[in-house]
């Protein structure tokens, strides 16, 4: 009884603290939404108006005209879809080979792959840029798509962990039925990997959506801008004229797809973060 009562008091205290923390965490978002619903002249009002008066959605309408936000979002999707489809398949196939097939020196090969994860992205930036420049492919989506389609080591690592947990008996059964390795993979293992794939695809999608330095370097013309570059352009155009509602509306719009995915797949997120982090 005593312990229970003590526990309850602690819970109440923590609950209060956490509510306070949550307000702090949410406060920037509240400000973002509040500003985006204001008229331009009221965005700079003092004292602070948390609930805009008058409430207006004009920023959400205008933002599409003044910035390449729509084409940016479409471009980001054009990059994301082939990368995710091909890259995920390649990573899963690679993971399958490393986990279930007998490849000579496969552990050494796998360690080699993992070692490439240690090379920071910022370091290979310039050599990569020079190579793509020589091929004449700067200001196209190719440098942003093709490397991704070849798979992703983090993802492969995660898939291998997952496949290691699936029984090998399936392979024997498939062999007896005369299935090739490829059929075994596509028909048997790929469907079993669905939860792992879902989690990793979401993560990777977020990475592509949020990628900034890649598009910044490779894409020069406005029509090729990805969502993040479009947003930056919007801000550099609108800040001088104090069009803060526009900037905030653009920010809300660019965040919405990610938030929706997060809310729908929240469970996968948390689990996958946990697995990839702790065992990595």
């Amino acid at each position: 009884m005593k312990i229970k009562a003590k526990n309850r008091t602690t819970n109440v205290i923590i609950f209060v603290i956490m509510s306070f923390v949550s307000i702090t965490m949410l406060f920037p978002f509240a400000w973002m939404i509040s500003t985006s619903l204001k008229q331009k002249i009221h965005a700079l009002d003092f004292p602070i108006q948390w609930i805009p008066h008058p409430l207006t959605f004009t920023a959400y309408v205008d933002v599409w005209d003044v910035s390449p936000l729509l084409s940016g979002m479409i471009n980001s999707l054009i990059i994301a879809i082939p990368v995710l489809v091909a890259g995920t398949f390649v990573s899963a196939l690679g993971a399958f080979a490393f986990s279930k097939m007998e490849v000579p020196h496969k552990n050494a090969l796998f360690m080699g792959l993992l070692a490439t994860m240690m090379i920071p992205g910022a370091v290979t930036l310039i050599p990569q840029y020079v190579v793509w420049g020589k091929l004449g492919l700067v200001d196209t989506f190719i440098p942003l798509i093709v490397p991704g389609m070849l798979g992703n080591v983090t993802m492969m690592f995660f898939f291998r962990q997952y496949l290691n947990g699936l029984p090998n008996e399936f392979i024997d059964a498939a062999k007896i039925d005369g299935a090739s390795w490829m059929t075994t993979f596509v028909k048997i293992f790929l469907p079993m990997m669905k939860p792992a794939i879902a989690a990793q695809v979401i993560f990777w999608f977020m990475g592509i959506w949020n990628d900034f330095i890649g598009p910044l370097i490779y894409l020069d013309s406005e029509k090729n801008y990805t969502v993040q570059l479009a947003l930056r352009l919007l801000s550099s155009m609108s800040e001088a004229t104090s069009e803060y509602p526009l900037i905030m509306a653009g920010s809300v719009i660019s965040t919405l797809p990610l938030l929706m995915i997060f809310i729908c797949f929240q469970r996968y997120f948390m689990e996958s973060m946990a697995i990839s982090g702790v065992k990595g």
């Binding site: 923590i14 956490m18 949550s22 920037p28 840029y129 330095i213 969502v227 920010s251 973060m273 702790v278």
Partner: protein, 259 residues
């Protein structure tokens, strides 16, 4: 490439030996970018402490813990540039909500969060913590859930209190996660770029220039690829050394669960 004088626009290229490195080491701006990058990493331990506290608070059986977890994690799933723009607006020295609140509550003028060289880095660190605390918290939560319950019972049997539980069980069991968070945090921290780029650029008096920003500036604005490559080399060697040191030191404090 780092030994060449290579201008990508003019297409000229010649071997210059160590000149790029010498030029780099003489450039006070380069040193400033190194110092700033290291300074900004103060946010890593602070963020880790916050994340750990949050994880412990939300690892209890408590109503509403799922909602709290989602709220804390929310910044981590938001669009990167959007977050940076949002904070740029929050930190606006005249009309930003922070200074408006300071004015409203205390009647005083708040600091120039992004315009005062002595505040810029602090502003960036605060934002970085807000942005990253959720992801780290999830990792710590997973770590906490891996701690076997009987370990705590042993402490109970031996008459230990909550502090003993934390100190002798929780802390050692969380060292592998902490190590992972630290390593990835430092590697990421050394490559800090995006947030700084959007929020402040180089900041007033270059007070927020980072190594990768310097690299980007040299390579893609001044188009001096040779020099930028030298920066890449120094950065990668730096990252390697720091990571190696961390691994070397890790057997002193990271508890190996296999034993």
């Amino acid at each position: 490439m780092s030994f060449t004088n290579w201008n990508i626009v003019a297409g000229t290229k010649s071997i210059v030996g160590f000149d790029n490195y010498i030029q780099l080491f003489r450039d006070s701006l380069f040193w400033k970018s190194v110092l700033n990058t290291v300074y900004l990493m103060i946010g890593i331990p602070i963020g880790m402490i916050f994340s750990l506290l949050l994880a412990m608070a939300l690892n209890r059986k408590m109503p509403g813990k799922k909602v709290f977890r989602v709220i804390v994690y929310l910044p981590a799933v938001s669009s990167m540039v959007a977050i940076a723009l949002l904070w740029r607006w929050i930190y606006n020295s005249e009309y930003g909500v922070l200074n408006l609140m300071i004015r409203q509550l205390f009647g005083a003028q708040g600091p120039g969060w992004l315009t005062d060289p002595s505040w810029v880095k602090i502003s960036l660190i605060i934002m970085g913590i807000w942005h990253g605390v959720g992801a780290t918290m999830i990792l710590f939560l997973a770590g906490l859930q891996n701690v076997p319950k009987d370990y705590y019972e042993v402490v109970d049997v031996n008459g230990g209190n909550s502090f003993h539980k934390f100190w002798y069980v929780t802390m050692p069991m969380l060292t592998p996660v902490s190590f992972y968070v630290l390593i990835t945090g430092v590697i990421g921290g050394l490559q800090a770029f995006g947030d700084q780029f959007i929020i402040t650029g180089v900041g007033p008096e270059h007070s927020a220039i980072t190594i990768v920003y310097y690299l980007w500036e040299k390579g893609f604005v001044s188009r001096d690829m040779g020099l930028a490559c030298s920066v890449s080399w120094i950065l990668s060697i730096g990252i390697m050394i720091v990571t190696l040191i961390q691994f070397k030191c890790s057997n002193k404090w990271v508890y190996d669960t296999s034993n």
